[in-house]
């Protein structure tokens, strides 16, 4: 990447990682097929956590021929490998061979270098401000303890020589942001900060020249130092969230396999056009809308509609982007691509819902909107008051500068970032990733929770209800059949049989009939495992998903499967209900299944067979009633609702569209952190308000003194550091 491009990224670092991540998918798609050309290979290692992991991974990779160097970054959970001419596909087995999960990351998609540069930039300014602050403090101690005349002037001059370049360098972020705000006709928090910095420096230089008593160089530099720390905390929180959001996107490379005369070629999904033939392998997600031309299989529509039972797919059937092909390979003709596809229509729905949510104003913004004009009016009033009372402009400016310095939102600038950093750090440790800066505050306001069913409250993975219908003698045969198929129901049966300690029997002629099931021969009998129709059985009421087992003689055996609850789902719902918030269940699945689940979890209000548009409308209705709803969902059918909700969470297993639309992503499979996050968000909001109260108390005490003209640089220094430190300590209480 060129330097100019990096700088362009630098300038665009936004508060919204989703906005960064969404075009990323396009960029990755555009760079499809790109192998590591001499550049470093970056692998994501989600499971590493300790010193042994670092050593293991580095040792294994360094021993691999062709690898020049490997370096693990535990903070980002990544390893960067310098291996010219090798591809990630060759290195992943090396890492997986020693028992660590590894995924390829597109290094071009990770703008880490640009973000790091910004972080280093702020750190550098903190370092310079800290150095200057300590030196000026030491000089100031001499002045405070009574240095006089020439000595005081000398100390003031030295302080000024250190302070002026420091303020000019370290204050740049504030000056730049204040200038931007002023040009747009706004008064942000940075305008009073910049004004205080400039006024304090200028008045101090003037006073020093007149060999006056008070110089505020120490206050100006201290202001820079504390506010930069607030800036850095703010930056860290957003950088961690953004890099994780980018990682989620970098993991999924949207590619399709186009069928051409010369064989299959991988193409970016964005380049598909109507009429293209594409091949879809079993287990793959369908990349565009289309019609099956050849092959038969079963299709999992749960992400699109919430139905938990797979449907049979045969030539002529229409497929929509986002569905998953289960058993057999399919060739599909693309009927809609780009803006016409159902995926793009849903995206448009999401965009509409997001603009409806509008821009949420955070507590800090609301506080600064109230605060900035007040500070300016106070300073102006004290200037005018003193000027008309004494006709002494120098004294009046001195008092006004003291008021500005004392009221400067030092604690305010630190109060929110410190709390948000502490809270999101704790949630990150529990596997919840906050993508949006204001999400935590919005989460604290939640008074209703809406869940999706398939994939959210349940795993979206079937589980055998009972093994009893299968005779013990037939179990080895059933296992041999089931383990030959990758169909979710077969895998659930395999799991159940293995858990029961069954050993597989040896079968002949094992073959999978896509869309129907799997068959084999044992001692001359034909065995079949599959759909009811194929085995000549009647499926009856489609309440639970079921598979049938035929042993060659006698009636086929019915095997029932139910969707497994996500771990922590029961405790999560129970805790939310206990906290007095109503819970609603919205699912696209059939009514009996949804009712069962709702009763099991104690959810009073449930709706089955809900379409994506109805879901979004339900959320909109809640908003119109003045409720603040939290939506938890994973499917494409939830995407619009996720964007419409006051705040939204999706599990990491969700489609990327759903993850992009939501404010937080649940990294683990456990749902319990959702309830914890609700509690923690309330705690964090209380802590932010406490912090505002603390800085308000300091101001109430110090401002009258400043207006009365009794403020000294010592007082300003004390008030500033005391309020900043107490606010930070109060925020850190959240960590435990």
């Amino acid at each position: 990447m060129s330097d100019a491009a990096l700088q362009d990224r630098d300038a665009r670092l936004s508060a919204c990682p989703a906005c960064d991540a969404a075009p990323l998918a396009q960029r990755i798609a555009a760079a499809a097929g790109g192998k590591g050309e001499g550049g470093d290979i970056v692998l994501s290692l989600p499971t590493i956590h300790c010193a042994v992991c670092i050593t293991d991974v580095e040792r294994a990779l360094n021993r691999h021929p062709g690898v020049r160097d490997a370096r693990v970054n535990l903070t980002l959970r990544r390893v960067t490998v310098d291996a010219p001419g090798m591809s990630a596909a060759e290195l992943i087995p090396v890492v997986e061979g020693i028992g660590y999960e590894a995924h390829e990351l597109d290094p071009a998609a990770l703008s880490a270098s640009a973000a790091d540069r910004q972080g280093r930039d702020i750190l550098m300014r903190i370092g310079v401000a800290g150095f200057a602050m300590m030196n000026i403090m030491i000089l100031s101690v001499a002045v405070w303890s009574g240095a006089e005349d020439a000595t005081r002037d000398m100390f003031h001059w030295i302080s000024g020589a250190i302070a002026l370049p420091t303020v000019a360098f370290a204050g740049q972020p504030f000056f730049a942001s204040a200038w931007r705000a002023l040009r747009h006709g706004r008064l942000g928090m940075d305008v009073p900060i910049s004004l205080a910095l400039i006024l304090a420096s200028a008045i101090s230089v003037y006073e020093t020249m007149q060999s006056g008593h008070h110089a505020y160089f120490d206050a100006a530099v201290m202001l820079c130092f504390f506010l930069l720390i607030g800036r850095y905390l703010d930056y860290r929180t957003r950088a961690v969230a953004r890099s994780a959001a980018e990682e989620l996107t970098a993991l999924e490379v949207p590619r399709a396999f186009r069928v051409t005369a010369a064989g299959d070629e991988p193409v970016p999904v964005a380049e598909l056009s109507i009429g293209d033939l594409i091949r879809i392998r079993p287990g793959a997600r369908i990349p565009a809308d289309g019609e099956i031309v050849e092959g038969s299989s079963e299709i999992d529509r749960s992400l699109l509609t919430g139905e938990s039972i797979p449907v049979v797919a045969a030539p002529g059937m229409a497929l929509s982007a986002g569905e998953t092909n289960l058993t057999g390979p399919l060739v599909m003709r693309v009927t809609a691509a780009g803006a016409d596809s159902s995926l793009a229509r849903l995206t448009a729905l999401v965009a509409a819902a997001e603009s409806a949510r509008g821009h949420y104003t955070g507590l800090a913004d609301r506080a600064s909107r109230l605060y900035s004009p007040l500070v300016h009016i106070l300073a102006l009033c004290s200037f005018l008051g003193w000027y008309f009372a004494t006709r002494d402009a120098r004294l009046a400016v001195n008092v006004a500068a003291a008021v500005l310095i004392i009221t400067c939102p030092c604690a305010l600038g630190l109060a929110v970032p410190a709390v948000v950093t502490a809270a999101s750090g704790r949630l990150f440790g529990r596997g919840l990733l906050i993508k949006d800066g204001t999400a935590l505050e919005r989460l604290a306001e939640v008074d209703a929770v809406v869940f999706d069913k398939t994939g959210t409250l349940t795993m979206g993975v079937p589980q055998l209800v009972s093994l009893d219908p299968v005779p013990v003698a037939a179990r080895p045969l059933a296992l041999a059949l089931a383990q030959g198929s990758s169909h979710p129901l077969s895998q659930a049966l395999t799991q159940a049989l293995r858990d029961a300690g069954t050993e597989a029997a040896a079968l002949a002629d094992l073959r999978e009939v896509p869309g129907h099931g799997i068959s084999g021969t044992w001692q001359g009998h034909e065995l079949r495992l599959g759909r009811a129709g194929w085995l000549g059985a009647d499926h009856g009421e489609a309440r639970l998903s079921a598979s049938w087992l035929s042993l060659g003689q006698g009636a086929p055996i019915r095997l029932e499967f139910s969707d497994r609850l996500r771990p922590g789902a029961e405790t999560c719902v129970a805790r939310i209900l206990a906290s007095g918030r109503p819970v609603m269940l919205l699912s696209g699945d059939a009514a009996p299944v949804v009712r069962d689940l709702a009763q099991r979890l104690g959810i009073a209000e449930w709706h089955a067979g809900v379409t994506p548009v109805e879901k979004a409308e339900t959320l909109r209705r809640l908003r119109q009633q003045g409720r603040h709803a939290l939506m938890v969902g994973d499917g494409l059918n939830d995407t619009a609702a996720l964007a419409e909700a006051h705040v939204s969470i999706s599990p990491a297993s969700a489609l990327d569209a759903a993850r992009t639309a939501s404010d937080m992503v649940l990294m683990g499979s456990d749902l319990a952190p959702v309830a914890e996050a609700l509690a923690l968000a309330r705690q964090a909001r209380a802590r932010i308000k406490e912090n505002f109260a603390i800085s308000l108390i300091y101001n109430i005490v110090a401002v009258p003194v400043a207006i009365a003209g009794f403020a000294t640089p010592l007082m300003a220094a004390l008030a500033m550091s005391l309020s900043s430190v107490s606010v930070t300590l109060n925020a850190l209480r959240l960590r435990r």
Partner: protein
């Protein structure tokens, strides 16, 4: 009081050295992986000789 003429430059110089060391460590990317560095010290991998 003449000693001030010596002590102030010395104290500023010492502080400046600290600042330079900080900038050097920042340039050397020592703040990229704080968690990893905290864990790496526990590993005995390179105890006997430095990593080549």
């Amino acid at each position: 009081m003449e000693i001030l003429g010596l002590l102030i430059p010395v104290s500023l110089g010492l502080g400046g050295l600290g600042l330079l060391a900080f900038i050097w460590s920042l340039r050397g990317r020592q703040y990229e992986d704080p968690k990893g560095d905290a864990q790496r010290i526990l590993s005995s991998e390179w105890d006997d000789h430095p990593k080549p």
